[in-house]
């Protein structure tokens, strides 16, 4: 497999798995407005995934690959999303903190990819960033409301942050594929993104009266296909129709 193909999967899988997690909340949001917001964000992410996977199918060199086969017919070890996005919808604080951590990363990533030498990646980034700005505003404003809200909302937000934070490093630490893509001027420089990410996160935590964990312990492996236990459950749900009825179409 070529590195561009793998890189596109890494980009697309994050949006797909988070989009799936958010879609699970459809009809289960804490109130109507948030429910609609979360599913709107899910839809945006799915739209971005389609762009990445249509392009991935093209560059894969295998005519049998389509956006659908890439989305639905890989095995767990072949999904290359970060561990953060597969973490469960434990409660609303988890949903919001997971989203906020991802959105900050996502926004800086897309900002960098806008100037990718690969014109298709640059086009997808320029398109997506307009949407992701809305996502980021939404999630950070909720982090502030929860963190600086009531005693209980603060406690729950802090707990969600403490639990999710170790899963976020996985997205930010460069692997060999990302290093190669960066060298070629196609991919983003994660070292720069990581710095910006940490600064923005720090500021957000101060305004939200939340404390970033000192512990720098990091779960890793998502981008290499080594996932947390939740991933298998996600895929059995996500792939059910294609596995039960191969090649089915809506």
């Amino acid at each position: 497999m070529n590195n561009l193909y793998t890189y596109l999967l890494m980009l697309g899988d994050n949006s797909m798995i988070l989009g799936h997690r958010l879609s699970q909340l459809c009809g289960h949001g804490p109130n109507l407005e948030t429910d609609i917001a979360l599913t709107n964000i899910s839809l945006d992410l799915y739209g971005q995934v389609r762009s990445y996977f249509q392009y991935a199918a093209k560059v894969s060199g295998n005519p049998a690959n389509t956006e659908d086969s890439i989305a639905f017919l890989r095995y767990e070890r072949q999904y290359l999303n970060g561990l953060l996005v597969e973490q469960p919808n434990t409660d609303f604080a988890f949903v919001i903190l997971r989203q906020a951590l991802f959105d900050i990363y996502h926004l800086y990533l897309l900002e960098a990819l806008e100037s990718s030498k690969d014109t298709q990646i640059a086009a997808i980034a320029t398109k997506s960033i307009k949407e992701v700005k809305y996502h980021q505003r939404f999630s950070s404003s909720w982090v502030k409301r929860l963190g600086d809200g009531t005693e209980i909302s603060h406690q729950k937000a802090q707990y969600a942050l403490d639990t999710l934070h170790p899963y976020s490093f996985d997205l930010l630490n460069e692997n060999a594929i990302e290093a190669d893509m960066k060298e070629q001027g196609i991919g983003a420089d994660l070292h720069i993104i990581k710095e910006k990410y940490q600064d923005t996160l720090k500021d957000l935590m101060v305004t939200s009266t939340l404390t970033l964990p000192d512990n720098t312990f990091a779960h890793k492996g998502g981008k290499e296909g080594v996932h947390s236990e939740h991933m298998g459950f996600i895929l059995s749900d996500l792939q059910y129709m294609q596995r039960a009825y191969p090649n089915m179409q809506w």
Partner: protein, 166 residues
């Protein structure tokens, strides 16, 4: 706006103008500004369209509708989805904005007003019914990806506001 930039055969223009967004039927695809290029060779047409939002579920339907409309008019059409340059609400025509308003959707404000209305709670979006700007945002995300939900504090009318995308 788009039509101004590209030359489209008047006959084809009228066919395309009759195709609308299935979720906002009053808005023709020409007024939305999603048709980016039309190449006519005899009776075959190559058309480039661009999505409003990446995940807009209406895009596939729109592409099929365009194809069928052109076929009915005697043309064979191929449709290509392009992402760049990315769509912006600035491409909605004046007529499109008026149609939105008549339909009960507040058209997008300019970029900076939009941000102030959506994020700082400034009262800038005029009510579609009584025109008062004493309106408040209920939800940043609305019934479709491109809209947010507002309510008028004067006449209490709840309404959709088409978000500025730039």
């Amino acid at each position: 706006m788009v039509a101004g930039k590209i030359h489209i055969d008047p006959e084809i223009y009228s066919v395309l103008e009759a195709v609308s967004d299935p979720e906002i039927p009053v808005l023709s695809i020409m007024d939305m500004g999603i048709v980016r290029e039309v190449i006519l060779e005899g009776k075959s047409i190559h058309l480039k369209i661009t999505p409003t939002y990446s995940g807009c579920p209406a895009m596939d339907t729109i592409a099929v509708d365009i194809k069928l409309a052109l076929e009915a008019a005697g043309y064979q059409a191929t449709i290509e989805l392009i992402l760049s340059p990315a769509w912006t609400t600035d491409w909605i025509t004046e007529k499109g904005r008026q149609n939105l308003l008549d339909y009960g959707i507040a058209p997008p404000l300019n970029d900076s007003q939009d941000k102030r209305a959506l994020y700082d709670g400034e009262r800038l979006v005029p009510c579609i019914r009584c025109k008062s700007t004493n309106t408040k945002m209920i939800s940043q995300f609305g019934s479709t990806a491109c809209k947010s939900l507002f309510q008028c504090e004067e006449c209490l009318e709840p309404f959709d506001y088409f978000k500025c995308l730039k």
